[in-house]
Amino acid sequence: MGGLPANRTVSGFAVSPADPKIMYAAVRDGLFKSTAGGEAWMAVGKGWRNLAAVAVNPKDPDVVFVATAEGAIFRSPDGGKTWERQR
């Protein structure tokens, strides 16, 4: 699982149903994306705090949501490149 911070709690995980090799893993202060079934990861977005969960829209897998533990919601329309706060 190269590129994921080692020994960190992974609180959120989501997979693209269209291509299950595309997946997202959330740790407290980082969101990571793999396009290789988890073999390699890259950080997406920045400045994350208290991430709790991540979800992919099954009908449009480029659309990704994350939630913080406090209930802030962010949406990405482009597979994690850009993010907009919803709440």
Binding site: L4, G47, W48, A52, T68, R85
Partner: protein
């Protein structure tokens, strides 16, 4: 001379402050709205199979958004428990009316009618503190559940929660989130991914 120093100082100050003043708010850094925040301790987020509704599992129950996460309202869960700490929210990918919740105190709840009524589907589970729940994408009657504390371990059902059986192996450590991923193991099964206190783990779902 003092004027030159003053100008130089002001340039220096401006140079020091500019990056601070110009820095855009990074994603995730805006403070959460404290007032009326009922979503504390968010555990799970899911998009319904048809792609329109978002569901949020939290210490204070289940919430639904119909506008992409901007506004939320509580989703009533009929149960004998007065309080539900919703740890996991998953759907049957082929039937959006079928939804499962993993909870901290009531085990697993299932609806087959889009949210009303809900039934506890805990037969065979060793405990009721469920921290992860995963539906197999191609065979939605097959689910895995991660139970904590009493009866700790991973359980599997092949009939949509009718009966759960404890399985050996699987992820170790404290499971936070579980997902069945349609990647073939080459041994007749697919992989179960688990976000845990010890990182991300994956194991064949035929263990």
């Amino acid at each position: 001379m003092s004027r030159i120093v003053g100008v130089a100082l002001s340039y220096l100050l401006a140079g020091l402050l500019a990056p601070v003043l110009a820095r855009p708010a990074a994603a995730g850094q805006a403070p959460p709205t404290a007032k009326g925040n009922v979503y504390e301790h968010v555990h799970a987020l899911a998009v319904a199979p048809e792609g329109h509704q978002l569901f949020l599992g939290a210490h204070t129950g289940l919430f639904r958004s119909d506008d992409g996460g901007k506004t939320w309202k509580p989703a009533h869960v009929s149960t004998k428990h007065s309080h539900l700490d919703v740890m996991a929210v998953v759907f049957d990918p082929k039937d959006s009316k079928v939804m499962y919740l993993g909870t901290h105190e009531a085990g697993i709840l299932k609806t087959t009618d889009g949210g009303s009524p809900w039934a506890e589907v805990n037969a065979g589970l060793g405990g009721l503190d469920v921290h992860g729940l995963a539906v197999a994408p191609s065979t939605p009657g097959k689910l895995h559940a991660a139970v904590r504390e009493k009866g700790e371990g991973v359980y599997r059902t092949t009939d949509g929660g009718g009966k759960w059986t404890r399985v050996d192996d699987g992820p170790t450590g404290e499971v936070k989130v579980l997902a069945s991923v349609n990647i073939s193991t080459g041994m007749g099964g697919i992989y179960l991914y688990a976000g845990t206190s010890e990182g991300l783990q994956r194991s064949p779902d035929c263990f």
